[in-house]
């Protein structure tokens, strides 16, 4: 709770206000918070408790139930490898393994220390016609191979260097 001061609560109130401050809208509120901060900072839960009138435990239970919510900060580039059936039978696993190896990540460690990259899997992106696919933030990259993924990674690193 040490960095409470860094949170701009009026901004947070605006986000919850837009969702109507309705406890039933907790999922939509957490989504809005996550879109803003790229993760759910636990420090704000007591504030949400007061604001919405639901217990911190309840907020926590919802936040941990749904796969999309992350209580840890994610990288600037979130790379999601689709591991849906279609991508799986068209060999998505080697892509995941290659990216993890390149970035020294694992199933447990999903984000690089410099907070640049997060590598995670997603059940199905519904772009099965283009399998295997990966997404970087929201952009879809079709018909990937481990080689193409490394190329993309290098390109992103390059852009980052020049930025």
């Amino acid at each position: 709770m040490e960095n409470n001061a860094t949170f701009n609560y009026s901004q947070l109130d605006e986000l919850t206000g837009r969702a109507g401050n309705d406890p039933k809208a907790i999922i939509a509120i957490l989504q809005a918070v996550q879109e803003h901060y790229h993760y759910l900072p636990k420090e704000i839960f007591p504030h949400l408790e007061r604001k919405l009138g639901i217990s911190e435990a309840k907020i926590f239970s919802v936040a941990t139930f749904y796969e999309n919510f992350s209580l840890e900060a994610k990288g600037k580039y979130v790379i999601r490898i689709c591991d849906g059936t279609a991508c799986h039978v068209r060999k998505s696993t080697p892509i995941l393994e290659t990216l993890r190896r390149e970035l020294q990540l694992s199933e447990e460690k999903k984000t690089t220390d410099d907070l640049l990259f997060t590598v995670e899997t997603v059940s199905c992106l519904g772009a099965c016609g283009l399998a295997p696919v990966i997404t970087v933030n929201e952009k879809v990259y079709p018909a990937m191979t481990p080689e193409k993924a490394v190329e993309l990674l290098n390109q992103l690193k390059e852009e980052e260097k020049n930025a």
Binding site: Y66, G84, A127, C128, G129, A131, Y141
Partner: protein, 622 residues
């Protein structure tokens, strides 16, 4: 703002004229697949070129009709394999794999001079198929629900109205009683397209009968089955059709509010639905006293947050109510005590999308498509190791053979068809012996599979069936919400056994244990997710038991299971160049130069680097 039925009719006539004045149209596919292939850049480039060349071009439908070229972003054309796709009207040509560099030529030749650019048309076995409906992929399809996908601007309510949209709603609102609408749906025998095939009319009737208000219309767009994207394409390509179906359900059952629950992985579906709702509100098709009829209806969108179990209707309801997505025991039924404890009609996207055509054309007409017990069409997502991947819609009862070979074009690279996984993690697999099986609810159920939401993942003889079963079990195990023990613990135990089998630790008796666990979980789990979770395992054991046995004995015939792979160096071919030993990451290869090398099986991690590097092809799988 439309105040009466007359206003809507007048608007429709005006825009119909305007649409037919667009003698030439370019429909750029703006489905997720083609966008990933760069279709939006193609759209921008075409617009730019037409501006440069002073071609009168309209990106939006205008009230005043005049001769112009319509440039539109349409929904998914379905033939995702060949994207980016462009449809050219009036010729009905479909250009595939279009590149940015093709744009000037398209404007010059096709738009201005009406010439076909042959290289952009679909080619197969030396034949050219310029027209969409002649392409083998489309020929056997019947596109009812998808009729607009690829043919109109997905983002325009005006274009939807001009092509006859909201006529069914109008009819239900003014010409039919609620009872008559419910009876039409009942008689049509429209069965829920979400998987189980429960007749929609029975749900509607149950909600209509109840005198408890408010009532809700719930649209399940949480299409979580991996390998399925029909609902996504409908929501993205024809959002108003879904809204219209929900509105008809609303006025038939007395509900005043609708909720659409869309999974988080479909941001574009959310965006297009939100825009469609906004447009309908602005025109007065949603809101209070719609078209002066006294009927109020509003639709909200809820975004999922990544929980597969929320596709189960009671879990979905819990999620909308702001709870964890836990399913609950039924009864009480959703139709009696659903959303916020009130009577609720729960149907999925494709089911609602069928409603307008049924109301417009009648139950008898609908029953003439498909077969008696399974009327209408079904959209399937055809994926996996198949030549033509994409979105298809076929009459219920079409044979699997026609789907795989006529529409799908057979397996990729001429490989042999092995099986198709249908119904995702709740379904089963169909094999060569099922090729003449009609695809409908009842036939599939009898074969131990299910229609499910409609994912068809094709596997060829290079796919390891045991690995696929492990994959599905891993999926359901991950997605098990943890509320009931049979599913939470049972799927984990099944997964462990499957992992042992694919990693070479399988034991005699594992197959029997899997089947025993499968029966236990199916009969005791709380919700549909758990009850159906063992289906892929049961069905693969039923048809491919020998492959399970082979794995337990230590071989994987496809070479997919790397832990069962054994790499050996053929001493007759090995020249002792030592390349393999240098490339081996774990120093498992040793030997004297110019003499055959050997692989130490204890150390080998089966990475295959030696196979790739060997100039004499001496490293082989044993």
């Amino acid at each position: 703002m439309l105040k009466s039925r007359g206003d809507l009719i007048k608007l429709r006539i005006e825009y119909k004229d305007s649409l037919s004045a667009q003698s030439k149209k370019i429909l750029v596919c703006a489905g997720t697949g083609c966008i990933a292939g760069g279709s939006l850049e193609i759209y921008d480039r075409l617009l730019e070129i037409m501006k440069e060349r002073n071609v009168d071009c309209a990106v939006e439908l205008q009230r005043e009709s005049h001769e112009t070229v319509g440039l539109k972003k349409s929904g998914c054309h379905g033939f995702c394999e060949m994207g980016p796709l462009l449809k050219l009207e009036p010729q009905g040509w479909l250009y595939n794999k279009v590149q940015l560099a093709d744009c000037p030529e398209i404007v010059e030749k096709t738009i201005l001079n009406g010439e076909l650019i042959e290289r952009l048309a679909y080619h197969k076995n030396g034949e050219v198929y310029p027209k969409q409906e002649e392409i083998p992929f489309y020929k056997k399809q019947t596109r009812l629900v998808l009729e607009h996908c690829g043919n109109i601007d997905a983002d325009s309510i005006l274009e939807y109205i001009a092509t006859g949209g909201y006529t069914a709603f109008e009819k239900a609102l003014f010409d039919m009683s609620g009872d008559a609408v419910v009876q039409t749906i009942r008689q049509s025998n429209l069965r829920g397209r979400g998987g189980a095939g429960f007749p929609a009319g029975i749900k509607w009737e149950a909600v209509r009968k109840l005198d408890i208000f408010p009532k809700y219309i719930l649209c399940n767009g949480d299409e979580g089955d991996p390998g399925a994207f029909m609902d996504r394409s409908i929501m993205e390509g024809d959002p108003h059709r879904v809204l219209e179906g929900m509105m008809i359900a609303g006025c038939a059952t007395g509900a005043t509010e609708g909720y659409i629950y869309v999974r988080a992985e479909y941001p574009m579906a959310v965006e297009r639905l939100a825009r469609a709702i906004e447009q309908a509100k602005q025109l007065g098709l949603l809101g209070k006293n719609i078209l002066g009829s006294g009927f109020d209806f509003d639709i909200h969108i809820n975004r999922g947050a990544g929980a597969f179990v929320c596709g189960e209707e009671t879990a979905l309801i819990a999620s909308i109510e702001g709870e964890r997505g836990f399913p609950r025991v039924r009864p009480p039924l959703t139709v009696e005590k659903g959303l916020f404890g009130k009577p609720t009609v729960p149907n999925n996207v494709e089911t609602y999308a069928n409603v307008p055509t049924i109301i417009n054309n009648g139950a008898e007409w609908y029953k003439s498509i498909g077969n008696e017990q399974n009327p209408g069409t079904k959209a399937f997502a055809l994926t996996g190791n198949i030549e033509n991947t994409g979105l298809i819609e076929i009459p219920m009862g079409t044979k699997l053979r026609e789907v795989i070979y006529d529409i799908g074009g057979g397996c990729r690279d001429g490989a042999e068809f092995k099986a198709v996984q249908i119904g995702g993690p709740s379904g089963g697999c169909l094999t060569r012996e099922h090729l003449d099986l009609p695809l409908d609810y009842d036939s599939l159920k009898a074969a131990g599979a299910m229609v499910g939401s409609g994912g068809l993942v094709v596997m060829d003889d290079r796919t390891c069936i045991v690995e696929v079963a492990r994959f599905f079990m891993n999926f359901t195990q991950n997605e098990s919400c943890g509320k009931c023990v049979p599913c939470r613990e049972g799927t984990r135990r099944m997964l462990e056994i499957l992992e042992n089998i694919v990693e070479g630790r399988g034991q005699e008796g594992d197959i029997e244990l899997l089947l025993e666990l499968a029966d236990m979980i199916s009969s005791t789990a709380l919700c549909g997710l758990g009850k159906t979770a063992p289906n892929p395992v049961r069905s693969t054991i039923q048809y491919f038991r020998e492959e399970y046995e082979e794995h337990i004995k230590g071989t994987c015939r496809t070479g997919t299971c790397s832990k069962l792979k054994k790499l050996e160096i053929d001493p007759a071919l090995c020249k002792g160049c030592s390349k393999c030993a240098k490339v081996c990451p774990v120093q498992a290869i040793s030997g004297k130069v110019k003499e055959p090398f050997i692989i130490d099986q204890e150390k080998c991690i089966k990475c295959g680097a030696c196979v790739d590097v060997c100039p004499f092809k001496a490293v082989k799988e044993a």
